[in-house]
């Protein structure tokens, strides 16, 4: 306990906390990406994956709470260090500042804040499924069957969700800022934890750069593919369920809409 207090009190200790939580969050970013990329398979693939996660509430909530505490620690340390850094130079320079600094390093607080805002939106959008913010309708109504069992149609939710251009734009902006955050943060964390020398540093920075680009391409490919037409047919069918009230089979609701229109 004493050790933890001593660590938290020192600026170096807080940087260890940022680096370690950064590693955990990066681990999630990669795992989440691999999960999401299943959208490029048949609808059943990602639906059964989502159903599998939902069917293990202990695991799911364990991971969620672990991640939440990492996010909290990362942000508290970030805010405290940023305030410390600002207070360490009350009067700035007139002749230009931060000579020779890597430009991405200057926007960590900004990119982090945008990521945080995005994470909140993302949770409301796809996890809490708030109908008001997705520009489509009530995602709760998207159901399909998997081996005879009724389950949430996550595939349809993703396709319908990203077919809304401004939603895709929001995701792409957030992914760009995540890229900036990672392309500095991934190498920086090795420095914070003390794993660096003149031989390894160029390799570490190059690897961080490559990994951040790969993560960006992976995430960005999903909204881009959907806007380009991925899963359009499936989405057409699913969309009917959204306008029907209460839940009916897609065919009858399309017929209903058609009858309304004919009147």
């Amino acid at each position: 306990m004493n050790l933890l207090r001593q660590l938290w009190r020192s600026s170096l200790g807080k940087k260890y906390a940022m680096a370690l939580t950064g590693v955990a969050l990066f681990g999630f970013v990669v795992g989440h990406l691999l999960g999401n990329l299943q959208v490029f398979g048949a609808p059943e693939l990602i639906n059964s994956y989502a159903h599998f996660l939902k069917s293990k509430p202990g695991l799911l909530w364990g991971a969620r709470l672990g991640l939440l505490s990492c996010v909290a620690l990362h942000i508290v340390a970030a805010v405290q260090l940023t305030l410390l850094n600002r207070s360490a130079r009350p009067i700035g320079y007139a002749g230009g500042s931060a000579y020779g600094s890597a430009w991405k390093s200057r926007y960590m607080a900004l990119s982090g804040s945008v990521i945080l805002a995005f994470v909140i939106y993302h949770l409301l959008h796809f996890t809490a499924m708030q109908p008001g913010i997705n520009g489509v309708g009530d995602f709760n109504k998207l159901k399909t069957t998997l081996a005879g069992e009724p389950v949430a149609d996550v595939y349809a939710m993703m396709i319908l969700g990203f077919q809304v251009p401004w939603v895709s734009l929001v995701y792409l902006i957030a992914q760009t800022l995540l890229f900036l955050h990672l392309s500095h943060g991934l190498s920086s964390l090795f420095q914070s934890l003390g794993f660096r020398n003149h031989v390894w540093w160029p390799r570490i920075t190059a690897a961080s750069q490559i990994v951040s680009v790969v993560v960006f391409i992976g995430y960005a490919s999903i909204p881009v593919a959907v806007l380009a037409g991925l899963g359009r047919d499936h989405a057409q069918k699913a969309k009917a369920a959204l306008s029907s009230q209460p839940l009916e089979s897609p065919e009858s609701s399309i017929a209903g809409v058609a009858k309304e229109a004919l009147k």
């Binding site: 360490a88 600094s101 390093s105 660096r196």
Partner: protein, 258 residues
Amino acid sequence: MKVTLKVWRQKDQKAPGGFQIYQSPELNPNMSFLEMLDVVNEDLAGRGEDPIAFDHDCREGICGTCSLVIDGKPHGPHQGVATCQTYMRSFRNGVEIVIEPFRARPFPIIKDLVCDRKSFDRIQQAGGFISVRTGSTPDANSILIPKENSDLAMDAAQCIGCGACVAACKNASAMLFVSAKVSHFGLLPQGQPERHRRVTAMVQQMDEEGFGACTVTGSCEAVCPKSISLDFIARMNRDFAVALLKGGPKKPSSGGAG
């Protein structure tokens, strides 16, 4: 040649400061930057004005007394040299040069361009030394030190403690200075007994002085007149973690000898 100077003037620590514009008299391009200021000051004194206060001592890049942020870069336009080794031929005839003091909360301004860097002394006093006399120069090879270690230790020992790293860093972090001082001893056999106590004490003092934290921007390395590498900061981060995990030195047991 002639230049225009935009200089920060501040009467004392409490008074608010501001920029003043001065025209230099005719200059020799081979004057050092500090000699240029001397000439400007003579001119000011001749006109009954208060000369510009600035820090300097050795004027050959070894004492770390000169400072100045010149056009936004500590120690002027070149890499790996101090202000005192910067020459007027590096500036174009007739340009305006902005001269500011090193700025950081732990470096309060005393007057004009002179700031108080005693916070660095206090960090040194917290642990930047070896407590026992290590004797005069030993015979060569009587203490064996791996070549890489002695090279690295000498790289770290190059630090002249000028504070340019703090001045350049957007966070006013002193990590490059502290890590150089920590590594200089930490790499040599004489520094081993106090290695952990040294790094914890110096880091603690650094935090108490109110310096910012490192965000690996690279500014410090870019302006360091001795080109000290960011690698040393990683080394300090590692040493500090090991020191905390191992804990303080054990109390000697109370039993007598034998």
